[in-house]
Subunit: 335 residues, 2 copies
Amino acid sequence: MSLPFHPHEGDPVPPALRGFARAHADLVELSESPAYLVARQRHPDRRVGLVSGGGSGHEPMHAGFVGAGMLDAVAPGKVFASPHNAQVLGASRAAAGPDGVLHVVKNYTGDRINFGIASERLRFEGVDVRRVLVDDDLATESDETATGRRGTGATVVVEKILGGAADAGLGLDELAELGTRVAGASRSLAVAARAQTSPHTGMPAFELGPYELEYGVGIHGERAQKSITRPSTEDLVDRMLDELTAALPGDGERVLAVVNGLGGTTGLELYGLHDLVSDGLERRGLAIAGRLVGTFVPALDMAGFSLTLTRVTDEWLSWWSAPSDTPAFPRKEIR
Amino acid sequence: MSLPFHPHEGDPVPPALRGFARAHADLVELSESPAYLVARQRHPDRRVGLVSGGGSGHEPMHAGFVGAGMLDAVAPGKVFASPHNAQVLGASRAAAGPDGVLHVVKNYTGDRINFGIASERLRFEGVDVRRVLVDDDLATESDETATGRRGTGATVVVEKILGGAADAGLGLDELAELGTRVAGASRSLAVAARAQTSPHTGMPAFELGPYELEYGVGIHGERAQKSITRPSTEDLVDRMLDELTAALPGDGERVLAVVNGLGGTTGLELYGLHDLVSDGLERRGLAIAGRLVGTFVPALDMAGFSLTLTRVTDEWLSWWSAPSDTPAFPRKEIR
């Protein structure tokens, strides 16, 4: 068994990458072995190649963010699995700019290891490499584990702001510091009412009753620390905003807000949530300086959503709003 | 019960419209009563207002298609229900150009009636009105009913091509004829592996076993004429392409292909399907002159997909690729 419309046999990722490259042939080029995607265009002032990647099953992340103004290359792993370091190496070689390569890595052990191995090989080849670690998931904040918070919805914010800044000609160290600051100024929380379909069994990856809610769910089907009785959507958003705003570092009044679908959640729900989030942030004295509503960082077909807040500066906003031309991030989607 | 993240009480559509208008305030303006959305910009050469609408639950259709280069206004009904004629009337008054208004109507009885009533009132007010009926759903073709084929995925093709043509300055009669020809050159087929969640019960709208497939499903939860044992995805695409290409009127070799998710189907699946569709059309001697892959005309959170083929001319392609700036159809999504 698998997802309903996966190929009959074999890994669903390679045909999906081919189908993606065929749909967006003017924007991206596919290397099949090792598998990575490279942007066809880059801004003439960009000195650093921006490279990301991670497990598949979160589309449009990351493949949909490859193109002018955002990522120069990505390494897509198997479903919910880190890319092989040879993929990261290939993507980085293809993307390297005169000032080197910046890796944007979500905080998972496998991703850290494989991007790390590729970095060492790149340095051995004389390519300068730095890393930005995205670790925004509030639900995994704990003093008890060394792993730290997971990387989730803020990835899209970090990657877009870095893309704008790279096109403005910032150098490798500046971009690494910027990305780390944007990730540090971001927090996310996710909830699910229905698990994603397991690609292995074709059944829901875990069972939830009709009034249960997984509060603080991960994007790989990691269960949350707690299942709660589903509150009203209004109360749920209030609770999430309370926790997010309490945890958000800094004290500026302006935020970027991302209302992100986890795969099986409708546009009708996401825009209704955005209305609640807008009211809730206003009531808390925060001004939404940029917004993104849609399915950008899903967990296959999970029914759920995440909220991401990033406290922003004017400079970050200018990079957030800068032109881009990628499959999932055409310029006009970004405000 | 309702969908998991709908408001606790009341119609989910009004808050979603507010959340949509807040997210895209630079592109669209919302009238709340009667409810309709109007584009903030239009091409200076456009002489005809393009107006569409229909039941909600199919987002991004139609609200996401409002903006420069596409629709001038839309009337969104309740979930899976026709808009009230007062909404169509308001949208049409707001959108009317010097040459009048063109209604793009999916072929459902309620939509036909309500757009029809609004047309009569507009004519009484001295506004010239024509209608394009979209009726592409091959599964509902029958000599036994007077209703005819339903309108589904081809709506996005008709609306984008009409948008480009309207910006080229075509008049009302020319646009009405063009839209009718595009709709007539389009056929769609849809399948589902899991029903959408019923907004009334919060449960799947109908039950399907793990190996069952609804073949020829509608976008409002209408069951198909047949449930079949799920074939391999490869065999399924072959069967759908056989039926679509056999039914497609005309004899040109160039087609637009839309691989559309019905809501709960992942990007990984849709791009894998696109790879199969691309190979399958090539084997049948057809050239894909334009493509669209993504969730554009869903049925809430149904797990399924539709394929739409439109036999195209060079002129239609130029309008398909013309610039647009709408929430779901920024220019660069279109090729």
